[in-house]
Amino acid sequence: MSETPMIEAAGLDVHFGSNHVVRDIAFQVAPGETYGLVGESGSGKSTVLRTIAGLVTGWDGTLRVAGQQLGPRRDRAFFRRVQMVFQDPYGSLHPRQTVDRILAEPLEVHGIEGAEARIARALEEVALPRAARFRYPHQLSGGQRQRVAIARALIADPSVLLLDEPTSALDVSVQAEVLNLLADLRVARQLTCILVSHNLAVIGHLCGRLAVMQHGRIVEELTEAQLRAGEAQHPHTRDLIALSHELEG
């Protein structure tokens, strides 16, 4: 890649106590690219994402976002640039806050003006009805909740979106809607994304390049074209592909 990568990891290690969960991870994501991390549960893929997001302490190695080295503590400007959508829409929205309040919070923290208009626009952007604005999360469906989470992530105009299995907690019919929404938003807002999933079909749908993780390591990195052409080399990748064919067929 000729231009500066938007996200860059090198020699990334994460320890949880004596558990070495991520080992020597290195990858680069170009601006506007969507990069996939695939692996079984426990392979460390979500941990990589949470480490980039600054939600994990106890890591070492090099992490850069837009060329800037990340330290153990992230400043407010970082959170303006990088946002995350969590796996479980039932757990990622505050149960005592209305959608309106949830969306207003990032605006208040960053001191962004015009909250009223921004919230209305954010709801429109994720195709939520106006009526949903003053509802509590428990009054929404799973798909609607995940749309709220996406709206919250995007309301302060980030350039990087970290997606942690954004559809795996949803019904199959809703999964496609949310994936298409993410695909549209990514283009419209020129977002750089990292998508974590255990589902190769989801990864293949959104990502240009992907890395396969096993036991905390990246075992193989390949493009979506290579994946589709069946050019995967590593046995674990082949296992995952075979498994996804089995599930589909």
Binding site: R50, A53, G54, L55, R74, D75, R76, F78, F79, R80, V82, Q83, M84, F86, Q87, D88, G91, S92, L93, H94, P95, R96, T98, D100, R101, E105, P106, V109, H110, A131, A132, F134, R135, Y136, Q139, A149, R152, A156
Partner: protein, 305 residues
């Protein structure tokens, strides 16, 4: 708010609407739902009614009292209930009904004062310790443990004995021993809330720890704390009355319920109504707070829903 001016039928619809049009409507709708759930428990409603009635009686004491609570009439001492003295008179001929009303002000006032001192302190200490973790958590929790290690009444006794006996000392003494359980409870709640994704999402806005604790963690601790405080009210009443009974709380001419029992206990066999009436008041208040707390727990405790 626009809804309060509408007729009753539509106000209910306004509250129960699942498409609220403003933050206030959403908030009031949620409260109304809680009230509907609370109303289904008749014992809890009875508890609430008794608590409210007692508060009203205490506040309106000057209007409802038939006599001056301090006026003695030695010729009329230890009278049984009559038309003149509804609940009889005590050992100095003072009207028990009037003293009971004014005593409610003292006893319930002490309870309210203790709660106002204790609940915010416990909430702040617990939330900060639980959210910050590490050294701050250890220090705050060891301090809490120190206070928790003293038996409540004994520490209160020592404290009051060191200071001057009186209502204020009793309040401070009870408050000193009452806050640690709230801090523990708030910390335990905070520990489970701290690692949820919705807090992670707030952290990802770049909000300060204070803002996160105050606006996102503390509101989640409030329901269980409210329940606990309500259930503890009765034990606070009993401690306040106990200190009064031992002569370390409110001092004699002040008509506090515990003090009233203490001064009248000599007459328990011959003129039993003199100590029994303030005893009944303490019993009723404690029971009412317990019933109310039980009902609140059923409504507010998220684990039971």
């Amino acid at each position: 708010m626009s809804g309060t001016t509408q007729p009753a039928g539509t106000r209910r619809d306004w509250l129960l609407s699942d498409t609220p049009a403003s933050r206030a409507q959403a908030r009031w709708g949620r409260r109304y739902q809680l009230w509907l759930a609370f109303r289904r428990n008749p014992l809890a409603v009875a508890g609430l009614a008794v608590v409210l009635a007692m508060l009203v009686l205490a506040i309106a004491a000057p209007l409802l009292a038939t006599h001056d609570p301090g006026a003695q009439s030695l010729a009329n001492r230890l009278q049984p209930p009559s038309a003149e003295h509804w609940l009889g008179t005590d050992e100095l001929g003072r009207d028990t009904w009037s003293r009971l009303l004014y005593g409610g002000r003292v006893t319930l006032g002490m309870v309210v004062a203790v709660v106002i001192l204790v609940a915010p302190l416990g909430l702040v200490v617990g939330c900060v310790a639980g959210y910050a973790g590490g050294l701050l958590d250890k220090v705050l929790m060891r301090v809490t443990d120190v206070f928790l290690a003293f038996p409540r009444l004994i520490l209160a006794l020592a404290f009051v004995a060191a200071m001057r006996p009186g209502v204020e000392s009793a309040v401070i003494a009870i408050a000193l021993t009452a806050w640690p359980p709230y801090a523990r409870l708030a910390r335990a709640e905070t520990l489970t809330i701290r690692n949820t994704d919705y807090i992670a999402a707030v952290q990802m806005t770049g909000a300060s720890p204070w803002r996160i604790i105050w606006k996102h963690v503390a509101p989640m601790c409030l329901p269980s704390l409210t329940v606990r405080v309500t259930l503890d009210m009765s034990s606070i009443i009993l401690t306040a009355a106990g200190l009064g009974f031992l002569g370390l709380g409110a001092q004699p001419p002040i008509p506090e319920w515990g003090t009233m029992i203490a001064t009248a206990r000599r007459f328990i066999l011959e003129q039993w109504w003199v100590p029994v009436i303030p005893g009944l008041a303490i019993f009723t208040a404690s029971l009412a707070f317990n019933l109310l707390g039980d009902g609140l727990r059923d409504v507010l405790d998220p684990k039971q829903r």
